[in-house]
Amino acid sequence: MKRSRVLVAVVAASALVALAGCSSSGSNDGKTIKVAYQDFGTDLMAKFMAKAKAGFEKANPGEKVTLVPIKAAENDYYTKLSLMNRSASTAPDVLYEDTFLIRSDAQAGYLEPLDSYVNKWDEWSQFYDNAKDAGKGDDGKIYGVSMGTDTRALWYNKDIFAKAGLPADWKPKDWNDVLDAAKTIKDKVPGVTPINIFSGKAGGEASSMQGFEMLLYGASKDGLYDASSGKWITGSKAFTDSLDVLKEVYQGGLGPSQEITSDTNYQNIVTSQLIPQGKLAINLDGSWVAGTWQSTGDTNWPEWEKTMGVAPMPTQTGQEPGSISMSGGWTLSMGSKSKVKDEAWKFISYALNKANSLDFDISLSQIPVRKDVAADPAYAKSNPTSTFFASLVDVTKFRPATPDYSKISNGIQVAMESVMTGQQSPAEAAKAYDDTVVGIVGKDKTKSE
C-alpha cells in the first residue's frame, strides 16, 4: 500500500516536472537554451557556467540561457541526466557529459551528432586529435566537444617526507618503492596515514579508476579490456597483483581507516580534510585536486604549493614506459531532442572558445585540449603542477567506454572491498571478479590471459 502511494507520488511529481518543462519551453519562442551540468562538491562548475551564461547573453541579445544545475554525486548525476534525456519535455539542449558515457548515450539516441557544426567551426582545428576522438561515438560521428582532460599521479606531502627522512624530490621507480616509502612513514611519523589508494564501494568510480586501474594498467598492457578483439580479460595475474597491493596497504595498516573508506564522503574527506590537515602522506589521485585548495576552491589552502609534491605513478616493476596514468574528461554535448539546435551550438562554441576554455582549465585544474590554450603562458603560470600533469598525457590510458563498464567497475569495487577488509584473499577476490565479468558480458566476450 505504501508502495502504491510512493508510485502515486512519483507519477504526480514527474507530471509536475513535465508540466513545468512545457511551460518554460512554451514561453520562449525557441530562444531559451537549457544547459544541464553537475554542481556538486565544489562550486567551480557553477561559477564557470554562470560566467558563460552572462557572457553569452550579452553577446547574443534576445537569447536566454537557463542553467539546470544537477546537485548529485557522479553516479546519481549520470542517472538523473539519463532520466531527463528520456523525455523531450525535460531533455536539456546542452549537457555536460562524461566522455566515457558518450558512446552509450549516443547509442541511446540522447545526443545530437555535431559534425555539420564542427566542420564549419574555424576553431575546431585548435583541438588535439585525441580530444576530438574523446567525443566520438561508435559510428565515428562527433557527439561532444572536449572541455579538458585529466591525468592521475601520486601526490605527496613534503613536510611529512622530510620528517621521515625521505627525499623532497621523490621519484619512485616501481610499486615496491611506493610501498617502502609508506612503510617508512608508518615507522617514523606516527599519527599520519601513510598512503591513500582509493578502494572499495563507497569510493565509487574513484576507487576503480584512481585506485585500481592506476595499478592494473601499470602491470598489464590491456588492463581490463582488449579493444582489438572486444573481449574482457579474466584470469589476469596483473589483477591479482594489484589486489595484493591493496591487501598490503589496508591489511598492513598503511591506508586510511575503514570508517573513512566506507564513508560515502570518502573523496571529500581526503582532499578537504586529511591532506590540508597534514594527516596523509601519499595520495594516488587526480590532477584536479589542487583546484580544491586554490583561492577559488572550497578549502582555501595556499600553502599547498610549497607542501605538496607530485610524482608519476610507476609501473609494477618499472617496465616500459616507466610510469602510468589514466585519463577521463568531460565534453559539452547537444541533446538530440533540442528544438533550438543552432542556438545550442552557438552556446557550446561560445563556452569553449579560447578564453572560456582557458578559464575552465585553470579554475578546474584541467589539462587543456586546445593547442592555443596549452600554449598560453597564463595556463602554465596558473598552477605549479599543470606542466607536470600535462606531460603525463604521453603515458595515459583510457577506460573501456562500453555500456557494460559501469557494472564491471562495480565488480572491481566489490573485489577491492573484500580484499581490503580481509574477507577474501586477492586470488579468491580475483576469481569472484572473473565470475562476475562472465555473468555480465557472457563467456564468449571474455578471454583468459
Binding site: 502515486v8 507519477v11 547509442q107 575503514q258 570508517e259 555500456p403
Partner: protein
C-alpha cells in the same frame, strides 16, 4: 475504497429486495438506474485509482519483460525479452541474499521489533501515569512524524563511528564498534523499529481502550493473574487490530528504501542489500531499467502474498 463501493452496492440491493413485489422490469431498471447514479460520484476516484495505481503496476509488469535501459542501444528502442530478466534474477547470486535480508529486515524490524515494542509501550502507557504517558508518546510519535530521510540521517548520526551511541558508550569506558560497518543489518533493523514503533503503539493503545474493563475484572475475580489475563483475555479481544496492524507495517517495511540507502547504501558489500535497494542499484546505478523493474515486480508479488494472508485472516474473524 473498495469496501465503500461494496457497502454502497450491498445497501442498494438489500433495500431493493425487501420492497413489496412489483412488476419485475421496472424494479430492476430502477435498481440499475439507481446503482449507476450512485456510482457516478465514484467515477473520478476510480479514474484516479486506475491512472495512478493500476497504470504504474501494469507498466512495471510490462517493463519487467523488456530490456529497457537508461543508456546504450536499448534505451533508444527497448525489446521484448520474455522471461530473461526473471531467469537472470533467479540465477544471480545477489537475489537469494537480497530475499533473505528482506525477510530478516521484515521479521526483525516489523513483525518482532515494531509490533512488540509498540504493544509493550501501549501496555506500559496504560499502566503508567498520565504525565509519563504523554511524555513517552511525544518522544515515540516524534520519531514517526519525522520524514523518512530525516529519520535516516538521525539514525546514521546515532550509529556512525563517532556517533551518539559510541559517545555514550565511551562515557562508560566502552569503545563501540563501527556499527554501520560491523553490524549493518542490526543497525537498520533497530533504526526501523525506532522509527515505526509509534504506529503500532497508537493502534494498540486505541485497541486496548476498547477492551471492556468488566471482562478483565471478571477474569481477575476468577483468579487469573496479569500475564494470564493478557494472553487469554486481552490478546484474543484485540486480534483484529493485531492483524490489521501487522498487515500495514509489513507492507510499509517491505518498501523501506531511504532508511537503508542513507544508513548503509546496502553495504558493506551487499550485507544490507534488501530487494528495494537491489532494485534501485540495478535500475539506476547500472541503468538496467527492465531488470530493476523485474525485482520491483517480485517485491510487489511478495507484498501481495502477505496482504492476501492478512486480509484472509481478518475476514474469517469478521464472519
Amino acid at each position: 475504497m473498495t469496501s465503500t463501493i461494496d457497502a454502497v452496492a450491498e445497501g442498494a440491493s438489500g433495500r431493493g429486495t425487501s420492497r413489496p413485489p412489483r412488476p419485475e422490469r421496472t424494479a430492476r431498471s430502477r435498481r440499475v438506474r439507481r446503482s449507476v447514479a450512485r456510482t457516478v460520484p465514484l467515477i473520478p476516484a476510480i479514474g484516479l485509482l486506475v491512472v495512478f495505481l493500476v497504470g504504474p503496476i501494469l507498466s512495471s509488469f510490462y517493463g519487467s519483460f523488456t530490456n529497457s535501459s537508461l543508456t546504450g542501444a536499448a534505451a533508444a528502442s527497448s525489446e521484448w525479452v520474455g522471461l530473461k530478466n526473471y531467469i537472470d534474477l533467479f540465477n544471480s547470486p545477489d537475489f537469494p541474499v537480497a530475499v533473505v535480508l528482506t525477510l530478516v529486515f521484515l521479521i526483525g524490524s516489523a513483525v518482532i521489533g515494531q509490533n512488540i515494542v509498540g504493544m509493550v509501550l501501549a501496555l506500559l502507557m496504560r499502566a503508567g501515569g498520565r504525565v509519563v504517558g504523554a511524555i513517552v508518546s511525544t518522544f515515540v510519535v516524534g520519531a514517526w512524524v519525522l520524514p523518512e530521510i530525516v529519520a535516516a540521517f538521525a539514525s546514521y548520526a546515532f550509529f556512525s563511528q563517532k556517533g551518539t551511541l559510541n559517545a555514550i558508550l565511551a562515557m562508560v569506558g566502552i569503545t563501540g564498534p563501527s556499527w554501520l560497518f560491523a553490524f549493518p543489518m542490526l543497525a537498520v533493523i533497530l533504526a526501523n523499529t525506532w522509527r515505526g514503533a509509534a504506529f503500532s503503539m497508537l493502534v494498540y493503545s486505541a485497541a486496548l481502550q476498547e477492551v471492556p474493563p468488566e471482562i478483565t475484572e471478571a477474569a481477575e475475580v476468577d483468579g487469573a493473574n496479569g500475564i494470564k489475563r493478557f494472553f487469554l483475555v486481552t490478546l484474543p479481544m484485540i486480534r483484529r487490530s493485531i492483524s490489521t496492524n501487522l498487515m500495514l507495517i509489513t507492507l510499509q517495511t517491505l518498501s523501506v528504501f531511504t532508511l537503508i540507502y542513507v544508513m548503509t547504501g546496502g553495504g558493506p558489500g551487499n550485507k544490507s542489500m534488501t530487494l528495494p535497494v537491489l532494485a534501485y542499484q540495478e535500475a539506476f546505478k547500472f541503468s538496467e531499467l527492465g531488470y530493476g523493474t523485474a525485482i520491483a515486480t517480485i517485491l510487489l508479488l511478495v507484498g501481495a502474498v502477505f496482504a492476501i494472508v492478512y486480509v484472509r485472516a481478518l475476514k474469517t474473524e469478521v464472519d
